[in-house]
Symmetry: C2
Subunit: 170 residues, 2 copies
């Protein structure tokens, strides 16, 4: 058991109970289109290249936005399993996720305006290795799925406001 | 104007009108937790490392899942601007996006079960450079926001099914 991580989680929970303002986090990214469909993204000290496959006119220098969404869900499930297994003292040897997401491109390409441009469905296969009893693992699964941020973001609407600026002004 | 890309888009639209089955795309990713919170993701020929900052027990070897969601939205907006500007013959010199997303970590850390674990709000600042008339750019903005896959994915619920497998079986 990772007692150091368990301590980190306990300390964070106590910090948020003591001072609500510390729990309110603002995440930030910035990106710019370079080339045709290549987007160069900056996330704190990390760089990420997102692109489209050659089949739709991109250069395939990185995963596409839709693929990046699936990647975020898989990793968020895995991280949430690790965090809650540690917090609850449940053995967890490994966790991996395989994902599939369905998009009907008639939506994005405006061939049929009744079809949504985003995912119509996502299927995940979450595989864990653990010696814990089945009842504990079922409890773990339930608590993970009710606290996984990206699962919530995909399953429920997020209010998005878009400011649109033309020209050189900042 | 990128007449080659305009031709690619026209050909794709015609292909989907001719054969509906070709428009139905299945995106796939797979990932596995390594280390504490580090997730190693495989997306076709691309690799992506997702991690958590050291402040919550990670090693900060990559962006966090929530940051990756913002990255996907920014790049998807940019790609959709490029695609529709090209398809509609509207001049577009550059497009960049700055994003902020609010998460109250009392949700993820189960300090307050009434708080959602995901984004409570996302704010985007989309900046374009273009010599096109304002009316054309307003039309472009509207068509982009009604066809951007990731904006749809975040704004509207996506059905997610999660299979849970314990042990070594495939």
């Amino acid at each position: 058991m990772d007692t150091e991580l368990k301590g980190v989680i306990n300390d964070i929970q106590q910090m948020y109970r003591d001072d609500v303002e510390k729990s309110k986090i603002v995440f930030k990214t910035s990106s710019r289109l370079g080339g045709r469909f290549r987007s160069d993204v900056t996330i704190r000290n990390h760089a990420l290249t997102i692109d489209e496959p050659e089949s739709i006119g991109g250069s395939d220098l990185g995963p596409s936005p839709a693929e990046v969404i699936l990647a975020a869900l898989g990793s968020c499930q895995e991280i949430t399993y690790r965090a809650y297994a540690t917090a609850l003292g449940i053995s967890l040897d490994s966790v991996s996720v395989e994902l599939e997401g369905d998009i009907d491109f008639r939506g994005f390409f405006a061939v049929d305006e009744t079809i949504r441009p985003g995912f119509e469905a996502i299927r995940a296969r979450v595989k864990i290795e653990s010696s814990a009893p089945a009842a504990e693992l079922e409890k773990l699964r339930e608590v993970v799925n009710s606290h996984c941020p990206v699962l919530d973001i995909l399953s429920n609407p997020v209010p998005v406001s878009l400011d649109f600026v033309v020209g050189d002004e900042d």
